[in-house]
């Protein structure tokens, strides 16, 4: 299946040097992130290699790209024990970029199914507090299993609309915002999605993303950091939302972790850069 003509035109107009690679991108390889609360990356790699798995090293710490699996890695005892989490390695970057310290109070606004929250817990050495919010019940159920499996011990998980937290009574040190998005960056995984994706999706999600940024601004401490990310390549859901944040009073900072291309608002990772999903992340300071 192929992208609709309007999508091809959109990519051609906005990313003339990349559009051919975007529309022809194939599904990325599976990657995993070590749960450093339970095991080191070296130990995990050796243990899984002894079972017949083969890996390559991506440019993100504690991640491994699965090059060969004798059986599904999600069915391994090591997965069930919570020694790793299956996620595109680009998805690990926002939590690493936020880099929360032990004892801080952190908000993960659209948290489920919890991969990023688990990384926050690892970085905070299971101290302080991570308040995780989401509205999607099937994803919340998956997150409950993930928290239990990975041994994250500093999380409060609520079913709550992150746009309606003006009365939350807490000023957070740091905030992670990975909002619902058009997900055109992962259309390479899903042939059906390629066909149904429309340019109007970008505007539709942008409105919600701006509401979430506004909500985050209200509960972040002055001087606090927010990392914003999406699995979209669109200008509307990324650069335009970052511009909205700037207009609110946020300062755009250049992330320390640098993957993909700097757009002046954040880093954009195209599927062809590392054979991953398409991804965007930006860093804001209040």
């Amino acid at each position: 299946m192929n992208y609709a003509d309007e999508m091809v035109d959109y990519y051609k107009e906005n990313f003339p040097e990349k559009y051919r690679e975007i529309i022809s991108a194939s599904a990325p390889k599976k990657s995993i992130r070590t749960n450093t609360l339970k095991i080191s990356s070296g130990e995990l790699k050796a243990r899984l290699e002894s079972r017949g798995f083969k890996f390559s090293l991506p440019p993100v710490p504690d991640c491994l790209v699965v090059e060969h699996e004798p059986f599904s890695i999600g069915g391994s005892v090591e997965f069930l024990l919570g020694l790793f989490y299956i996620m595109d390695f680009t998805s690990a970057v926002p939590a690493l970029e936020l880099n929360p310290r032990p004892e801080e109070t952190v908000l993960d606004m659209c948290a489920a199914p919890g991969g990023k929250t688990c990384i926050l817990s690892q970085l905070m050495k299971n101290t302080g507090a991570v308040v995780s919010l989401d509205l999607n019940m099937p994803k919340i159920n998956a997150m409950i299993s993930n928290l239990e499996r990975t041994g994250a011990k500093n999380v409060l998980l609520y079913k709550k609309d992150a746009r309606k937290i003006e009365n939350i009574n807490i000023v957070f040190d740091k905030i992670l915002l990975d909002p619902p998005c058009s997900a055109d960056g992962i259309a390479c995984r899903d042939e059906k999605r390629k066909e149904t994706l429309r340019v109007s999706d970008f505007e539709k999600y942008k409105s919600m993303q701006k509401d979430l940024i506004q909500s985050a601004f209200n509960v972040l401490k002055t001087g606090g950091t927010l990392v914003y990310s999406t699995c979209s390549l669109s200008i509307e859901e990324n650069e335009q939302v970052m511009d909205f944040a700037k207009a609110l009073g946020f300062k755009i900072e250049k992330p320390k972790m640098q993957l993909g291309a700097w757009t002046g608002r954040g880093f954009k990772v195209f599927p062809s850069d590392y054979k991953t999903q398409g991804f965007f992340y930006g860093r804001l300071r209040k």
Binding site: V77, L80, L81, G82, E103, T105, T127, G128, A129, V131, I140, N141, A142, M143, I144, S145, L147, E148, R149, G151, K153, N154, V155, L156, L157, Y158, K159, K160, N167, I168, N169, I170
Partner: protein, 190 residues
Amino acid sequence: MIVEIRNAVKSMLKRELSFYTNRAKVESFMSNKSVLAVDTGRKVQFFLVSKALEKTFNEIPFSQGLFYAGIFAGEVEKNIFAPSLAVLDFLSKNTDKKFVKLDYKRSVLFSCGRDIPSAGIVSASKDLRKNDIIIVLNENNEGIGYGRVLEQGIVLQELKAKPVIKNLYDIGDFIRREQGLKRAVNKENE
């Protein structure tokens, strides 16, 4: 749904957990933590929360919609306490109670919900008796579940396919739970 700090149940939790290891180790597991209870009417889930997490919980004005907090210790449904994976992880490092240790192949099968035949048990406590509740470990001494002894006098590595340990709960349970199946430990007691 009632969500509240319920430290009055600490002694009940300690008693339940002491079933698997000695009281001093349970005390250390629960020290400096409060018990947060989520009571749905059908079941009560118990979470252990640090002082920092308890403070944050108390500051947040909405308690409804809380689905997870700190360490999930276990849940009571139909008056039966079912311990969690976190407890299993703790016990695998601290148990001084009865156990069996499995080879890799049997660990995989046990994690898929299977019972255990004597073939595949590489070591076990000496004094296993019928109906004993035991911790099941893999070859790396990691807790992968709980079982119940079905036969008196297990002979290790005996090449018999007949189960000698009943699977009560294993680390693959969460996948089956996501598929809408009940916890094995509760199912057995219905």
